[in-house]
Symmetry: C2
């Protein structure tokens, strides 16, 4: 692969160079891609080392480097910078990136920084700061190229040559009416094909997909995925063009949302990060482990009700984890399929019932299958209880796998309905259900039929 990797330094070398010859390190950073510079900072051991390197990075690159770092590191570094220094960094960023960075500093400092900016930038950034970070407004950028509907192709090209230089990923020209309502999109490619005196509105696409700034960014990301978009305009409730979102930002949204879902399914805080201090990570995980301990104790309380039964037939203690474990795995399978299906927009209110029915059918089939297998194992392993022990474990297995499938589907669908993230805590609720039902069904049936 030919990448800018060849320009890569090890962080140790970079630190040595930064200490001895800061001007040479500055020159190295200047010709390096900001993503590679961010990796160097990431590899450092301490905040001081990171600050040392950051101070060697030219102002116009510092913002992009900071934005490439995990949030906790970004905040720690920004907390060490003076408002003026932050201002110097922010003024080189696109409005969406500037907003992201300012949202990582103390709000009083952010206000101070914004005060110092050029009036133009201030006007762009202020409204962006008001949007929720999880909304379309939170990821859109204000920089875009808009033209009046009555202009000719020639005039558009002239203005574009004059003002368009600064705009990144400029692939579309936005056509607005006198009140800034978006009325059409014109790709640069189409623009090139037009006759000089052709009115652009004739050539613009009049039917296009747009989003509202309040739209959930996950919904926006799904639109990009569904319609294979490269960019989308953001239009407020009155039809006024307020910004645009590009595919490279959407990639970040997808990555973050997928990480969030995976982490939540695994009883992890979605802030858990490789670069966090050990104690912070231990605390975040400990909270979820504590929740799990409570549910495990609940399952143990169920077992405790059947102490006399276990005393009489110790084989039950040997076999009971099998029933609980199979329920946990089967339920997790269903849960994961449903959570992912919701995240990808494949499961909606419209087809939820169909999906639920399928999961129930699958559960009944696997439940019956593993009831037979478990019965065979139990009967062969503990022959002195005859077929009775086998029948008890078979019934418990069938019950638990059916409950697991039902719970694995209903928990996320219900959370979704209540507008709660379907991945949140659903794994813990699920295994509580499958453990409690598994132990109760198995030991309860044993008490009824084996004693």
């Amino acid at each position: 692969m030919q990448t800018t990797e060849s320009a890569r330094l090890r962080s140790e070398e970079a630190l040595t160079l930064a200490k001895r010859e800061p001007s040479r390190m500055r020159a190295r950073f200047a010709e390096m891609h900001t993503a590679d510079a961010a990796e160097l900072l990431l590899d450092c051991q301490t905040l001081e080392q990171r600050l040392l390197l950051l101070r060697c990075i030219p102002d116009e690159q510092q913002g992009d480097v900071l934005l490439d770092l995990p949030e906790n590191m970004q905040e720690a570094l920004l907390a060490q910078l003076h408002p003026e220094a932050i201002g110097d960094v922010v003024e080189h960023l696109d409005s969406d990136d500037a907003t992201d960075l300012l949202q990582a500093v103390d709000s009083a400092v952010a206000d101070e920084v914004i005060e110092q900016l050029e009036p133009d930038e201030r006007r762009e950034i202020r409204p962006l700061m008001t949007y929720d970070e999880e909304s379309a407004g939170g990821i859109m950028q204000a920089e875009l190229f808009k033209v009046r509907a009555d202009w000719t192709a020639d005039r558009v090209l002239k203005v574009l040559r004059r003002w368009g230089q600064e705009i990144e990923n400029l692939n579309y020209v936005y056509v607005v009416d006198d009140d800034d309502h978006l009325v059409g999109l014109l790709s640069l490619r189409t623009l090139i094909f037009l006759e000089p005196d052709q009115p652009i509105l004739e050539a613009a696409e009049r039917k296009f997909i747009s989003v509202s700034p309040d739209e959930d960014r996950e919904t926006v990301a799904r639109l990009f995925d569904k319609y294979d978009l490269m960019t989308v305009p953001v239009v407020d409730g009155n039809g006024v063009l307020v910004g645009r979102i590009t595919a490279d930002d959407i990639i970040d949204v997808f990555q973050e949302e997928a990480t969030e879902d995976m982490f939540r399914l695994a009883a992890l805080s979605d802030q858990d990060d490789l670069t966090e201090p050990v104690l912070v990570t231990a605390w975040r995980r400990g909270v979820w482990l504590m929740v799990n301990l409570a549910t495990a104790v609940l399952a143990s309380l169920v077992i405790a009700q059947f102490e006399p039964t276990i005393s009489a037939i110790v084989a039950l203690a040997v076999l009971m984890p099998i029933v609980a474990s199979m329920g946990g795995i089967a339920g997790t399978q269903t849960l994961t399929v449903i959570v992912r299906g919701i995240a990808l927009g494949r499961i909606t209110f419209h087809n939820a019932f169909k999906v639920l029915m399928k999961e129930i059918r699958v559960s009944v089939i696997t439940g019956l299958t593993f009831a037979v297998v478990a019965a065979a194992i139990a009967t062969i392993w503990f022959p002195r209880h005859g077929i009775a022990l086998g029948l008890v474990i078979a019934a418990a297995m069938l019950i638990n796998l059916c409950v697991a499938g039902l719970a694995g589907a209903l928990i996320p669908l219900t959370l979704q309905r209540l507008h709660i993230d379907p991945a949140l805590a659903s794994g813990t609720i699920l295994t509580t259900v499958t453990d409690v039902v598994g132990f109760f069904a198995f030991l309860g049936l044993a008490t009824l039929f084996l004693l």
Copy 2:
């Protein structure tokens, strides 16, 4: 949100219309976005219904609709079409999409279809068919706009006006030398700013990121993410330009890879799909449940070694699932963080040791914490065993959480080292380890110190 959703029909209405007035349904499809048409097909109950609708979709849209459907459905529908019909569909697609579609049909049929194509298209698609679907070559498209290095801006614009109409997402012009080696990139935006007689090589970016067609598509996706790319050229070992990849295709790669990892972590086949028949799903999940049953029996065999101990102290049967469960959760936390870190390129050979050390430290801290908590619960719950039972569960908890952290980190790191997907089967291996170690440590220590 303003989308094309307003054009949406329910699949029942569409089916009725397709039967009674196919020409009206055809007109509806013609003005519908292909992604919306695909949703209608997805909502149908049977293959026959889907075929009925598909036949109403104009040829030039059928390909995009098929590609938007899950793979199993795509294959089933294509198997019903004649090679000539497939050819009519394929000829309207970009080369990368055409290749994807042809890879979903029987290879003899695919050859027959390719034979019928125009020589031009045949020449584009044949080499693409040879690349692995998981490689850069498998997702790149051959359609791109390339120009010679010695051309002027004016000549490029002229040629572009003549030939560029057909190319989607044309934002870059690729500058090649006489032997088709890629020597520069020129954005349309830059092109517009050039003087007519300016040689384009002067204005082109000479330092750019490119990828080899054999590169793993996941690695390519990480490049897009890291460097915020919108498009990347694909260049073979000799530096010859062979294709390009755009960000909208990368979104699909990220979604698929994230789904694959989530599914594998949850003991699901990565082919598990909402639209599969119940029996296929039951079979796929049953295979993994069978593996889990085997490991659960292994854990039960461990318990069985301690039957006399459990007979003597039934409290052990009550408490033992707590130790195993906490190990499973703690191990899954570590496993998920590591698997996701590898997928996002955050964990590399370079920092794996540092990451491992952190996980061990976290495990020791949480292990000590929950050892104390578990000891307190056990001592209060079963006072007749005094502090001894508490000490036994504390030691077992500490051992199991440390083993869980170590296994949760080492299993995916080792698989990655062996070039096996770190998510594959690692969840099952992990819970086997934490169950076996949990039961063995708890019951073993109890046998030594409590009897």
